[in-house]
Amino acid sequence: MENMNKKIQCIALVIMCLSILYFGVHMESVEKMKEKNMIRVSVVLPHSDDGYWSNIEKGILEGEADYSDRVDVQIHIPQLNYNIDQMVELIKRQTAAKVDAIIVQGNENKEYVDALIGARNQGIQIVLVDTDILIFPPHLYVGTNNYEAGVLMGEKLAEITGGEAKVAVLSGEAGYANLQERCQGLAAISEKYPLIEFIRLDYDNYDGLTVMNKYNEIHGENPEIDTLVCVEGTGGQTLGAVFKEEQSEYQNIVVFDITEETQKGLKNGIVDGIVSQDTNQMGYQAIKEIVKYMDEGKYSNNCIYTKTGWIASETIEEEEAYE
């Protein structure tokens, strides 16, 4: 009987301990205490898309997850795509809220730059992704080396066209350094391939309707143009979604950014090749560098380039398998 007493006492003690432990753990989980002195990062994305900026956002959130005890990210998107006024408003709001860092796409618009300078003057880190602002004071840029990406696109264009083509370039919007750099890199190949002739440059305003409008406009106004180059993602996405091979007015179409639509275009034969950017890494590296700056007072480098690649119809399956 004495042994039995001891056993019962032990069982009672274990039950009590387990109850307290369970209760404590549960309370802890409900409490969900966050770390003090979190790095408040605000991200102002130009628009909500499905493939490019969403990948950058994904990378940012992955970075936040990896530094969850240090970083708190808030994503802000203007109601209208690439609306400078709304983005400026958002930046000013974050500035007034005295956040620790703002991640935005670069834009040469004066008000936009002024808003960023205002934030920087308050000690807020400014991290530009995808697009740099060359005139902006020392800052961090994380994104593609757009000039080199333009050169890559040119080289591949030369391969596709055999070094002879009449080219129309469809860009996003004036004032974006990244697009300008891509165009510059693309144009640089004309020295190497003189038979590649750039006929015109148009802007789609990051808008599918405008893309289609420009598509028709270019063909209508310059029927001699046989090659269309979209140096910004919206152009490729729209064409990939809308056209089949036999419907294309152009012999060759080369686009930027790998998305579901551009891949579809590539499979359909409407698109001949895609220059891909590592958008996920753009977002992730931005967060990583912000943390580093908070810890060490400096970035790894003020300009961090992410990888670019070329995807043609021959390599699409390989790329899909890789993904």
């Binding site: 009987m1 007493n5 069982i11 009672a12 209760f23 409900v30 002195n37 408040r40 809220a97 005295k98």
Partner: protein, 504 residues
Amino acid sequence: MNRDTVFKSSVTRKYTIGYILLSVIAAILLMISFCANSFISSSYKRATDELLELNELYVDVEMVNNRVNIGYLYLRNNVYEDYLRECEKTRILIQKVKEEQKKNYTREVIDTVCTMETYLEKTDQLMKKLQDYIISTQKSSMEYQEIESDYRDAQEVLKYISINFQEVYGVKLVTVQQTQRNIQILQEKITILQVSLLILGCLACLYYCSKVIHGVTFSLGKLTDAVKNIEKDVYQKIHVDINSNDEFEDFANALNRMIDVIQNQMYKIEENANIKEKLAVAEIENLRIYGELQKSRLTLLQSRINPHFLFNTLNMISSMAHIENAEKSAELMEITATYLRYNLDNLSKSVTLKQEIDNVKNYVYIQQYRFEERYQFFFEIDDECEKCNIPFMILQPLVENSLKHGLSMRLSGGRVWVRVLLLRKGNGKIRLEVEDNGMGMTESEIVSMKREIANNTMQSEHIGIRNIYMRLKLFYGELVDFDIIRMKEGLKIGITVPLNKGGK
């Protein structure tokens, strides 16, 4: 209460442990309920308090903005003090919220309070400029433009505060909703936990109590069985084995010891009885051997006489006496021969009193021939006693002793009385007496003689008396009474024996 009592388990202690177990379970349940209630109420309070606090903060900012508007729109100098007071109050509240945010961080709240700080910085700047502008005598348009720009900036930030507050409110509502859901889940889990604990506790208690009760009844059953078995057979080797570590174990041990003691005592009593029985058997055997010894002695004595030869001789002489017409001699010879025949035929036998008396009379007849009128013999015989059996040759040796030792020195007037008396009728006794009026014995001689008879150490001159006594003892056992009585004149030998016609 000594050490043993404290540390030894007892039935009371076992029941007490059961009650304690119940109390502990109840305490755990109460504790869980208390903690859960505290946690739930604190969660609700925290969620709502934060919202109320932010609302208060927003109202304070509105109050500050009210002062700013009055100052800006009406250029009132006296509003500045009110503004500072409101600002101070708001800053204290902002600081409080920021401190709380260190413990319970919410991004939207932090952004909002930081925006409020920005707003206060801007309004401070604005209100200072306004003060300067009101005080200054030369009011330049540039100053006014700066004030206007600052005012716009402040209002813009106020707009952000409003947007932020709406966001915070939305977030907080979601948080409250989430908290409510979490609390609901927690309550369900706590209820399950409490019910589980209650069931487990009840089961544990039931198990424990059943064990204790079973232990008690089992012990009682064992004790009862043991007692019943002992009642049936006290010699049964029974030991009650109880290891309950309580009073029952003590009781069982005591019962075992008691059984051992009783059984040991019973064995000893039985052993003593056996020994006594053996002793009695040995004593009887001793008496038998002694009797045999006496018989052999008697045989030896009788063999000395060579009676057959004498008897034949006497018969022959008697015949001769008849032939020669010597009638008296012939009669004497016949009586003597009868006497001798009696002695020869009844050796080692019991005889009737009549036979014994007849034999005595024959002897007396012979002696009267010898001594003629010198001795007189008197017989007082109760006829009822004649058929009683007595040992052979009891009375004649006594009469012979009277003549030989008592009356031998008396030349005339010697008397011998032979009495056979029935003392009580039915289961009465017979009294045999032989009395003479001879020289008798002194008291000391009588005492000495009695001692010798009792101790079987008598000298050869008293061998007849001792022989009679021993044969009477063998015949009647302890029922015989043998007296030697000193008379005024002479001596009397008295024998009292049971009236047993068949003999022993």
